[in-house]
Subunit: 149 residues, 2 copies
DNA sequence: TCCAACTTTAGATTTAGTCTAAATAGTGTG
DNA sequence: CACACTATTTAGACTAAATCTAAAGTTGGA
């Protein structure tokens, strides 16, 4: 029944994120339609039934929800594409604070388990990215706010 | 010495990608400055010393280079951000052909090796994305050209 | 009831990337 | 070399994603 409603409200309370009708609608839609939607898709869908929602608010709400951990961003949060001429296999580390991308030495994946997870799909490439705080930033060098050099 | 030059030329020959001054300059810059640069950064840098390079050509060149495997794209090739309300830990599969994003069941990573690769960095989250052809597309359902629903 | 902080809004603006049609630069043939 | 043909580059128009802004609306607490 309105079980979901209660759960969502509980989620807002738990995370301390102020619940507003707009934030609620965005989260509810995302939970209901378990797809990996873009902000635009969410806006179109929610705005259709609830006029009280502007485009900017979808972005605001999504940021707030991600911030509180109720939603997770997938596939590189819409920044500019980046290119790498280092072809030796390696992984990447992206700093939450300064946005810098660093190379990590390669480590193997459990190929057996990976095969299983992939099911019948044909896999061309595996991409591993660790997110966290880089050493510069950890050392208090909290200079650059956003994506750096 | 001009060792690099020879290597790059060899790379063009090997992959069969026609070598043009513009493509050469883009690749050479990327190889020289081993950073994860954006198209704009590359344009600014290369255009400064070589006027014969337009913005569009940087994009063309990068696509051609990625296509030939001489350069690899990092961190989600600049599409719209996507959001996921499924918080249970899981990985993702992105289809090269139709762009759809599918959930994969979780599999553990070799945490020992990962720690080592991460060095001193504090890791908040690990993101694993497999790229390939989804089952729908594999079955010839080659309908939708670009990123789908 | 009143205030201050927070949130939403429409629309302008910025940024990344694509597209277009014309100019330019190879490439192969004779 | 002349020619035709194809591939590439170009400037600038255009589109799409996201952010910013300033004003209006909402909320919780003193
Ligand atoms: Mn790299
Ligand atoms: Mn998912
Ligand atoms: Zn950092
Ligand atoms: Zn597909």
């Amino acid at each position: 029944m309105s079980d979901v409603k209660a759960q969502l409200q509980e989620a807002f309370e738990r995370t301390g994120l102020r619940q507003t009708p707009q934030r609620y609608d965005v989260l509810a839609w995302l939970v209901r339609h378990r797809k990996h939607a873009t902000a635009e898709e969410i806006f179109d869908a929610v705005n259709r039934t609830n006029q009280r929602l502007s485009r900017a608010t979808v972005y605001n709400a999504l940021h707030a929800l991600v911030e509180s951990g109720l939603v997770r961003p997938v596939a590189g949060e819409g920044a500019a594409a980046r290119f790498d001429a280092t072809l030796d296999r390696h992984h990447h580390f992206i700093c939450d604070r300064c946005g810098s991308i660093e190379d990590l030495t390669w480590f193997d994946l459990p190929s057996k388990a990976m095969q299983a997870a992939a099911g019948g799909r044909s896999v061309r490439q595996v991409e591993i990215t660790l997110h966290g705080i880089c050493q510069r930033c950890a050392r208090g060098k909290t200079k650059q706010a956003t994506a750096s050099v």
